[in-house]
């Protein structure tokens, strides 16, 4: 009987599955803050703070003009710089360590393992006070180098941990075969293991980029006027006395849109990336 129904129609009832209905309701709840941000970003300043709130009002790009005329544009550039340097530096240092971790023994392995776990447990506020003190001594406050190093406190252990999980998935036999054929350790890493773990590297890289894009606590303390990223700059529109919700929403959009695009482009890998560390670790 079913065979007579065209494929197109047969798939239709799936849309009305009760589980899908519930999931879509959940998505509506998830969407509310995003809808608020988007609507508010295009509102006139008066409408954005209206009591009672007006859900829909005349559209303006005044808020975007405000943020791009102000210091916010510079902070967006800073965010781009910090995100780039942090992602590259963390991957360059963390990926080989993850490999070493997944393969064989080396002196300091247990120490590194223990410390990775420990620093995953300790909150950044424990590190930030002394880091602030000795960065001040070394002149690293308000520098991109200092910020990149500080971002790595959380991101480097994460990267080593995740990459160890990905490299453990690469069959060791392939590397052994390469080594029998005369490849050095270095070559079996760069020519065999790394290409096979490349999806993992790009997922971890994306997660690092997204985390550095949104990082607030570290730059809030260690950044200065020349290095303030957008995540800190955006708060300037929410002062204690005057709040410019429209400008804040417009600025928030500039932080949300890149993350939306990255997440939806890389969703498959990301679900794996988020869970790999949790399930295997």
């Amino acid at each position: 009987m079913n065979r007579t129904v065209p494929d197109r129609l047969r798939r239709l009832p799936a849309l009305f599955d009760w589980r899908v209905a519930l999931l879509v309701m959940g998505l509506v709840v998830i969407a509310v803050p995003y809808v608020w941000i988007t609507l508010t970003a295009f509102k006139h300043r008066v409408d954005a703070a209206a009591v009672p709130p007006v859900l829909v009002s005349p559209v303006t790009i005044e808020n975007f003009r405000t943020i791009f005329d102000g210091p916010y544009l510079g902070s967006l550039v800073n965010t781009a710089i910090i995100t780039f340097t942090t992602t590259i530096a963390t991957l360059a240092i963390g990926v080989p360590a993850g490999y070493a971790f997944a393969r064989g023994k080396f002196p300091g392995k247990m120490l590194l393992a223990g410390w990775l776990l420990f620093s995953r447990m300790m909150p950044p506020v424990i590190f930030i006070v002394p880091l602030f003190l000795y960065f001040q001594r070394l002149g690293l406050i308000n520098t991109f180098t200092g910020l990149t190093l500080a971002y790595m406190t959380g991101l480097l252990p994460f990267t080593v941990w995740m990459m160890a999980a990905y490299f453990a998935d690469v069959p060791e036999e392939l590397e052994e075969a390469a080594r029998v054929d005369g490849a050095t350790r270095m070559q079996s890493f760069t020519k065999v293991a790394l290409p096979l773990a490349l999806p993992g590297v790009s997922t971890v890289g994306l997660l690092i980029a997204i985390a550095s894009l949104g990082e607030y606590f570290i730059p809030f303390i260690l950044a200065g006027i020349d290095t303030t990223p957008a995540s800190v700059g955006v708060v300037n529109y929410v002062g204690s006395n005057t709040i410019n919700w429209g400008a804040m929403a417009a600025a928030s959009l500039t932080l949300i849109v890149p993350v939306f695009v990255l997440t939806l482009v890389a969703q498959k890998g990301m679900i794996r990336g988020l869970t790999a560390g949790a399930i295997k670790g």
Binding site: D17, P53, W115, V125, L133, Y134, M186, S231, I271
Partner: protein, 308 residues
Amino acid sequence: MSLPQLGRHLALARRGGQTVLIWSDRHFLKFAAWPSLVIMIAITAIPFALTLALAFTNYDLVRYDDWRFIDFENFRIIGRTRQTTTIILNTVYLVVAAATLEAAFGLALAMLMAAKVRSIGLIRSLYLLPIMTSPIVVAMTWRAMFNNNAGWINYFLGVAHLPQPLWLGNPLLAMPAVIISDMWTGVPFMAILLLAGLLGVPEHIKEAAAIDGAGPLQIFRYIILPWIRPVMFVAVLLKSLDLFRKFEGIAVLTSGGPGFASTTLNLHVYNTGLRYHQLGLAAAWGVVMMGVIGTSALVLYFALGRTR
């Protein structure tokens, strides 16, 4: 230099090069791992040791050239502080309430997401978005949503003829507001992690149980729950660690107020050290915080993580 001599030199050099190659080959893993180790020592181990040391000093940023070791005085101060119990209880309240709610709702959401229906991939990835959104943006947006007069939450409560409380200004509602805003990202986070566990439950075990006459509730209780317990442990642990370090969602939403009603250990360490410049005292609070985190992790391990 005569020709044979040059030849000998070249041979030596070649052998030297080879030795270097063999040597670097043998130690490759070390070279791969040590940069990470060195950086970790510089940016986490040394700061951590400094925190431990600072906890026993009266170091203050305002008069930084006049400090000395003061033994356990900082901890005595913490013991004497009136708000200490409140702050620790607030922290436990936030972590336990948020993690429990998120685990429960997250499990329900994960079970829905495990459905094999069309476009489930798209739905799953849309649920990723709150997890990826910058916490500071989330915090500011929820502050707007919870606003007394202009906020959407009270507006919709008014439309439904429900009471419109002063969310962020009420000592009893400040922490629930923080928890609600945390659930917006926390429930999807839990769901994505638990989904991976749920998808790992072998179909044939469920089928065998169903053939033996087990109902859906029994399958859930005796097959699914025990199967996903290790994943649940890791998910709750990761989420709890995130809750202990929650900063933006409290600092921007309530500033820890009203009074100390939503001040957690994390916020208090920050306030003491970086707002009031008492770095020594802040470090001591940090040590207390690590104690609380360590204890909680142990409790969680004995409750969920132990393998029978």
